[in-house]
Symmetry: C2
Subunit: 196 residues, 2 copies
DNA sequence: TCACATACATACAGTTTGTATGTTAAATTG
DNA sequence: CAATTTAACATACAAACTGTATGTATGTGA
């Protein structure tokens, strides 16, 4: 049984990120021990530092995975409608739903900005979910669907609102109901920007 | 020169929190060394652990100070108007302005949730700025000023939007202009909830 | 096939947090 | 007012953790 080096590498990276995702989301970045993670992955810390440089590098890779997953869910959910505005609402709800999930929440919303710094975190977001939000708002604006407003400012406000919504929902006893309430509020919020 | 123990205690706590606030906001929680902080305060780590229990306890005290300061600024700014709705807008702008400031931003918005956990952080917020926001929304609602909406959900959405706005503004080249744009967007956002 | 690169493992050093113990001065009490 | 206690620290130490330097084995290209 001899795997090529490339296969080996891919497998190691995947195993480590998967294990790390669990530890980071369960215990938080600071409390997640590199030693415990590599042991659970059947490796040593040598492998971690070889592939990711340091602990932060591993976290970065995990966050990238989370971001990509969520963005994909948002995109496919938004594609359910033909109407630009309805796409926006569907995408927003999909984002909140995905961000609430425990394998994502802490990594994406709590530790992400703290570990990588807000600017790095934001840049990653720009390449995933936030990009979708921004592009959608631009599309709507092009068709005159928005009141005159700074699109970047609006994008950030909405993004922040949704992030907080996810964290709020996560700790509510009835999450399903909380999601409905948050979505309703979000819809009204969006209405404020709609050109009549 | 003999100070009473109570005076000594107060002075030590104040000195430590002040130094810690600088270190936490400049380097972040994880990179702020307890040894460096107590040295700069002219003490040893014994004093820190005596008064605050651990590093997290010190951070908690610093964050409480930051929260209290900001809440006071929000409250006094909102008091400039008689109109409930205008008070809300003024308070929101004051909050963003205060949260942008570098002695506050990282501690309040980046490291706070990560270090204390979102629920503890949120609970502290509930006792300060967020309480003001929530009460103001309730007041407006009592007078029929709001569309039918879940006030808690709305409170969180707005709070999240403002937090993100502060982080966005902070890294813009022209912060003054960014604050104006964010405030304008926020006003539209609030308009979405206004009963006509 | 032979030199090299890659994917790790191992060993070690440096830092940092937290705790346990000691010390001094103020406060309390008999 | 003397004796005792207690609070505010300082000091010393243990444990954990990250990062780095080095070693090794295996695959790969010339």
């Amino acid at each position: 049984m001899k795997r090529s080096k490339e296969e080996q590498k891919k497998a190691t990276i995947r195993k480590l990120t998967e294990v790390a995702r669990v530890h980071f989301s369960a215990h938080g970045y600071a409390e997640a021990s590199t030693e415990e993670m590599v042991q659970e992955a059947g490796l040593t810390r040598g492998a971690l530092y070889h592939h990711f440089g340091n602990k932060e590098g591993l976290f970065h890779a995990v966050l990238a995975m989370v971001q990509a997953e969520i963005a994909q869910q948002v995109e496919s959910e938004a594609a359910q409608s033909e109407d630009l505005w309805e796409q926006l609402v569907l995408g927003c709800r999909a984002f909140v739903s995905a961000a609430v999930e425990s394998p994502n929440r802490r990594i994406l919303l709590i530790d992400g900005p703290s570990v990588l710094g807000w600017e790095s975190w934001r840049q990653m977001d720009q390449e995933h979910s936030m990009r979708l939000l921004h592009e959608q708002l631009l599309l709507i604006d092009e068709q005159g669907g928005l009141k005159p407003v700074s699109i970047p400012a609006l994008t950030h406000l909405l993004s922040g609102a949704m992030n907080e919504a996810a964290l709020w929902i996560a700790q509510m006893p009835d999450q399903q109901h909380a999601l409905i309430e948050a979505t309703a509020s979000l819809r009204l919020m969006l209405d404020g920007f709609k050109a009549q």
